[in-house]
């Protein structure tokens, strides 16, 4: 590789050809401020429209200032990142952005996490010299995401995530000049678009333009109502990220503290979605084996591969964009919804509570879960199986609101019976985890033999699309894994064209899986955070004594006492669903 030698702020630096000024500066500890630029290292995700112009620097001999995020280095370049000219320009640019931004920092949902706020603070901006008209847009509230475009700074990160990474194609810049803003086509609301509510736009938005719908007030109301029994379930990825909101090192597992905090918040029962994840494996694994054995027996009506269906954004995605494939995903509900269905039947019966007096709250790393729990098919007589879904971020804020010193909390256990889970349930939180959990169970159920090893390293990792063949005692099972909907699309298209053949495929909408979910504490473009959360998930799995779903005694008891066996009629009624062709849903309305 060619080396380029240049000086930045009078320091000589040597970097590879093709390096940008921004990256070159970083190697010598010069951190040029940026705003629109965003890069998740090693994940192939980068946003660099070169639009905000915050990162401009002075290059000797160049007529105008250079945006360092897109300007590649040349031999002999002399760069000044903080000359008077640069500082004046950069401050002016930031002042301009603020001049068209509501002065609502005190009440903004993004306060403290806002990258524009931080930039203004770092640059010591105390006065806006160019005040003027501010753009005003209609607020758009969907079941999961709120768009407050007055706060949009046209960084285009959401647009890049929605189009390039997720290939959903909802968000795009519209209008020109001062009116330019990012929006669904024809300025429709999100709930009138093919938005999957994956929330990756929310995860990368530097300001408060995109935030999740806040379910906290409703949860507080339920907790204050003496006639209600309120139970909570926590998704696997939450425990690996919640600590970040309290200043803990990314990757710190806070399972015990989280359970303690939830109990102090007043939840009557603190349960675990991991339990429902184990249940999902029982159903989905059985379904896989069922389809597989029929396929092997020559039944041509059976559809393979089987696709996982735990991810609500993924379900939305194929309902809108691949409706012809809606019979392929497993009919198993997601763990959140299986939990709700079991809680409001089996558990409610046990407690002798009417389902109307039982409130199920979920804590999720996800914003699409808010939409999922509002789906009509997941309710009985208008009473939803899961009443409210809080994101990890909302839970953190709730804990702070309740004056709880998170660090001082003891580690506590989940309640029985819906709080007991295996290592297989935990790894649902990371890409590859659902299929690994399924393999652990399907292998043993199929071969009737004990697994020689529990860890399937070949299914783990961060590559967008992964393939592996697992030997089911002589039967090679081909497995595909995709995270990020763009990768899912590629995999689906390969299946449609007959290019790829798999027995089972796991799909998670968010890069990294649920650990990188749209409801997690903001990663602020630091992909190492995602990797640390992933490690945390696998370390919790390793610490568990039981690591296979079919060995969870409470799951076995649930079947014994209530469901019968996997895929039984009762199980089918409570734990399975069907999907809808939504490809023309808007055409019909219009």
């Amino acid at each position: 590789m060619d080396k380029i030698k240049l000086t930045i702020d009078n320091k000589t630096v040597e970097v590879e050809k093709g390096t940008t000024i921004l990256e070159a500066a970083k190697t010598i500890g010069v951190h040029i401020p940026t705003l629109c630029h965003m890069k998740l290292d090693d994940m192939g995700i980068e946003n660099k429209p070169g639009g905000c112009r915050v990162c401009v620097v002075e290059v000797d001999g160049r007529k105008n200032l250079a945006p360092s995020c897109v300007t590649e280095v040349n031999n002999g370049m002399k760069i000044n990142t903080h000359s008077m000219r640069v500082i004046n320009a950069r401050r002016t640019v930031v002042e301009l952005i603020i001049s068209d931004h509501p002065y609502e920092c005190l009440t903004c949902a993004k306060a403290g996490n806002c990258e524009l706020q931080k930039l203004a603070q770092d640059m010591g901006i105390r006065e806006i010299h160019y005040e003027g008209e501010q753009s005003v847009y209609r607020e758009d509230t969907s079941p999961a995401i709120i768009r407050d475009l007055d706060k949009c700074i046209m960084c285009r990160r959401c647009e890049m995530m929605c189009n390039e990474v997720q290939t959903v194609g909802v968000l795009s810049a519209i209008n020109r000049g001062f009116q330019a803003v990012v929006s669904p086509p024809f300025e429709q609301n999100l709930d009138h678009s093919v938005c999957t509510y994956c929330g990756q736009c929310v995860a990368v938005c530097p300001t408060g333009a995109l935030t999740e719908v806040d379910h906290t007030p409703a949860v507080i109301r339920a907790l204050s109502d003496p006639s209600k029994t309120v139970v909570v379930q926590t998704a696997p990825a939450v425990r690996a990220a919640l600590g970040e909101a309290f200043g803990l090192e990314p990757g710190t597992l806070v399972t015990g503290k989280m359970a303690a905090a939830l109990r102090r918040l007043g939840f009557d029962f603190v349960f675990d979605t991991d339990f429902a994840a184990d249940l999902t494996i029982m159903e989905e694994g059985t379904e896989l084996l069922d389809r597989l054995s029929r396929h092997l027996a020559g039944d041509e009506t059976v559809k393979l591969p089987i696709l996982t269906s735990c991810c609500p954004a993924w379900v939305n995605f194929f309902e809108h964009q691949f409706p012809d494939m809606k019979d392929i995903p497993s009919s198993a509900k997601s763990p959140q919804q299986m939990f709700g269905a079991v809680a409001k039947t089996y558990f409610a019966d046990k407690q002798k509570i009417d389902r109307k007096d039982l409130v199920v709250v979920s804590i999720m790393p996800c914003v699409a879960k808010k939409y999922e729990c509002s789906r009509e098919e997941f309710s009985v007589d208008g009473n939803p199986d899961v009443d409210y879904a809080l994101t990890t971020r909302e839970l953190a804020a709730f804990i702070k609101l309740a004056n709880i010193d998170f660090h001082a909390l003891p580690d506590e256990e989940f309640d029985h019976p819906l709080g007991d889970s295996t290592g297989a349930g935990v790894i649902f939180g990371a890409t590859g985890g659902v299929i690994e959990a399924a393999v652990r169970t399907a292998y043993e159920l199929h071969t009737k033999k004990s697994l020689p090893r529990i860890d399937f390293e070949e299914l783990r990792g961060m590559d967008g699309i992964r393939e592996a063949t697992i030997d089911f005692d002589g039967l090679p099972i081909k497995i595909g894994i995709a995270h990020g909907l763009g990768n899912a699309r590629k995999l689906l298209e390969d299946i449609q064209s007959g290019k790829s053949q798999f027995h089972a495929i796991e799909i998670m909408s968010c890069p990294g899986g649920c650990i990188g979910g749209g409801g997690q504490p903001y990663h602020h473009s630091d992909s190492s955070i995602l990797k640390k959360r992933q490690m945390a998930i696998y370390s919790e799995d390793g610490m568990k004594t039981i690591r296979k779903s079919h060995e969870n005694p409470y799951i076995l008891k649930l079947y014994e006492e209530f469901l019968g066996k996997p895929m039984s009629e009762k199980a089918h009624h409570l734990l399975h669903t069907n999907y809808f062709d939504k490809s023309t849903v808007f055409e019909q309305e219009d």
């Binding site: 070169g50 401009v56 105008n64 002016t92 301009l96 000049g177 001062f178």
Partner: protein, 597 residues
């Protein structure tokens, strides 16, 4: 053309068509038919003559008689007098305002005297819908020469040696651009013609495509040969229906003649051209934005490098040139490098087409050699300032050019001189202003255009220009401060320094150049709350001088808001609280009793 004894050329450009030139063509045809002269006299609808001020234009060949402001009603007389009796119809001849005499042919009209027509060589001469007429004027000879006698490298070198620079505004050496694209290795390359003309008032690209589409097609094919591209694309705004139609006809004819398609002239070279329509966004004239628009994406620019010559349309090497640039190419091949480079100035060879507009007597489309002075253009070709008023400023370079003054009038026009003077060549808009124009309002007017046309991608252009406009608005309303003037300068310079593309990098030019050249006018608005030109409504008052007022009631009767009162034959009075400053009273008063204060 030899079979006919006489040809009647009627301007079929968009301007003259708006003045019913199509009906004039029809009228000539039927008149000639009635008199059984249609075998001897041929009527042709041509492209634009350029002298739009005096349109519709009719020219009669072989004697070169030039008729101006012709109407359908004049057709009969022209046929009667000129065609049959052989004497010019005097009342339709051009009237020279200086010598007060009538001029029969273009060679003696000041508007044409100093023009040199290279890009516009066929506009107004040939029927653009007939490829034979183009061929008769050496059309496609250049392509033939390149394909049969030259290697692509030789042909590229010829364009390089000619010194031709991009006419779209940037002035980048055309041959060098071709060479860079030629050096790229790729299975597919593209030649793109930028016909997204967007400068307000500019219409040279439209006129070339309407009047001489084959010259562009021929040049694109030569370019394709030079750079190794088999595919050409013309990106043209959909608001140019006539140009599009003529281009389509020309493409079809070129294909029929084997001048486009496979194995052109037996050379083994394949080349064809498609048309892509733009929706009229000004920023799509910027080459990366243009390419994104052609690809079906939002028309907004991206950072360069990579330049289109390396990674352009669909990621392939793409050579983008403007219409006028292409129109120059065939002539260079036909007449040679020496001939071409003998025209123009040292660093800017050849000619430039300008759309001359504003307060000059002769507005229209002109083509002048580089190095001509602004004075020659405005006073000789343009015929001076309308109504005998005083020249104040000339704005070149479109909405983001600068306003030059009296002191720049003797500056030879070329790329480098205009930049040095604080303006630019742009695509050739030239708007002349007189003493009645308020330079603060002019700056605001241009900024309004860039404000509308900014794509909104980068902060300085999206928000910065908005703020500049707000400050200017404040100043024109008499609410500005000295600090505001300073802010205009500081912010303007930051916008220039930090914007993503040429649009933003030049958008503050009208402000910065008027601040440099007309600072006193800004001060008058801010300090004295006065608009010296009397244009800023909030800063002027209309008053009636009771001594001069005869009480004729004309102002009273014309005031749209009833702000004027007074008895007949008694002095009238304007109620300032009602007056909307429309200026109607001022225009109507026959006794100069109303003044602007």
């Amino acid at each position: 053309m030899t079979d006919y004894k006489m040809h009647i050329l009627v301007c079929g450009g968009t301007g003259c068509r708006a003045s019913q030139s199509e009906k004039i063509v029809d009228a000539f045809k039927s008149e000639l038919e009635t008199r059984a002269l249609d075998d001897e006299v041929k009527v042709i609808a041509t492209g634009c003559f350029g002298f739009c001020e005096k349109g519709p234009i009719v020219k009669i060949i072989p004697d070169n008689t030039f008729y101006v402001q012709v109407g359908v009603v004049d057709v009969k007389d022209i046929v009667e007098e000129h065609v049959i009796k052989g004497r010019p119809l005097k009342r339709l001849l051009y009237h020279d305002p200086a010598t007060k005499s009538q001029v029969t042919d273009t060679a003696h009209i000041d508007f044409y005297k100093k023009q040199v027509r290279i890009a516009l060589r066929n506009c107004g001469f040939i029927n653009p819908e007939n490829i034979d007429e183009y061929i008769a004027r050496d059309g496609y000879a250049a392509l033939g020469k390149a394909l049969s006698e030259m290697t692509p490298a030789d042909a590229t070198q010829l364009v390089k040696d000619s010194g031709l620079r991009g006419r779209g505004g940037g002035g980048f050496p055309t041959g060098l651009k071709w060479e860079i694209t030629a050096k790229e290795k790729s299975d597919q390359k593209y030649v793109v013609c930028n016909a997204d003309e967007g400068d307000p008032g500019a219409f040279m690209d439209r006129s070339i495509l309407e009047g001489d589409p084959h010259s562009v097609i021929e040049a694109m094919a030569i370019c394709g040969y030079c750079i190794g591209a088999s595919k050409g694309l013309v990106y043209i705004r959909a608001e140019y229906p006539l140009a599009i139609n003529r281009l389509k006809i020309a493409l079809e004819q070129a294909r029929e003649y084997g001048l486009l398609g496979d194995d052109i002239l037996g050379s083994g070279f394949n080349f064809d051209i498609d048309i892509r329509y733009g929706a009229g966004a000004f920023v799509c004239g910027e080459e990366t934005a243009l390419i994104h628009s052609m690809e079906g994406h939002r028309g907004e620019p991206t950072f360069k490098p990579p330049f289109p010559s390396v990674s352009g349309y669909l990621g392939k090497p793409t050579n983008v040139n403007n219409v006028e640039t292409f129109a120059n190419v065939p002539v260079i091949f036909n007449k040679g490098v020496e001939w071409f480079s003998s025209i123009g100035s040292e660093k800017s060879k050849g000619t430039k087409v300008f759309a001359l507009a504003g307060k000059v007597n002769n507005v229209g489309l002109i083509e002048v050699p580089m190095g001509i002075t602004l004075r020659e253009v405005i006073f000789d070709i343009g015929g001076g300032i309308r109504g005998g008023k005083k020249f104040k400023a000339v704005q070149t370079g479109g909405p983001s050019g600068g306003c030059l003054t009296e002191q720049h009038l003797d500056t030879p026009i070329d790329y480098d001189n205009l930049i040095a003077a604080g303006s630019m060549m742009g695509s050739g808009g030239m708007i002349v202003m007189d003493e009645d124009d308020c330079m603060v309002s002019i700056a605001k007017f241009y900024l309004e255009f860039t404000l509308e046309e900014s794509c909104g991608k980068c902060t300085p252009c999206r928000i910065g220009n908005k703020r500049l406009h707000e400050i200017l608005d404040k100043i024109t309303k008499g609410k500005g401060t000295l600090e505001d003037i300073e802010r205009l300068r500081v912010l303007g310079n930051v916008i220039k320094d930090t914007s993503l593309c040429g649009l933003g990098q030049t958008s503050p030019n009208p402000i910065l150049s008027t601040l440099d050249n007309f600072y006193d006018e800004y001060l008058a608005h801010v300090n004295d709350k006065k608009c010296p030109a009397g244009q800023c409504k909030d800063l002027v008052r209309y008053e009636i001088d009771p001594d001069a007022c005869t009480g004729c009631t004309l102002c009273f009767r014309n005031c749209p808001v009833g702000a004027i009162s007074g008895e007949k034959k008694m002095p009238h009075y304007i109620d300032q609280t009602l007056c909307i400053k429309c200026g109607v009273c001022y225009e109507k008063c026959r006794f100069k009793a109303i003044s602007i204060v």
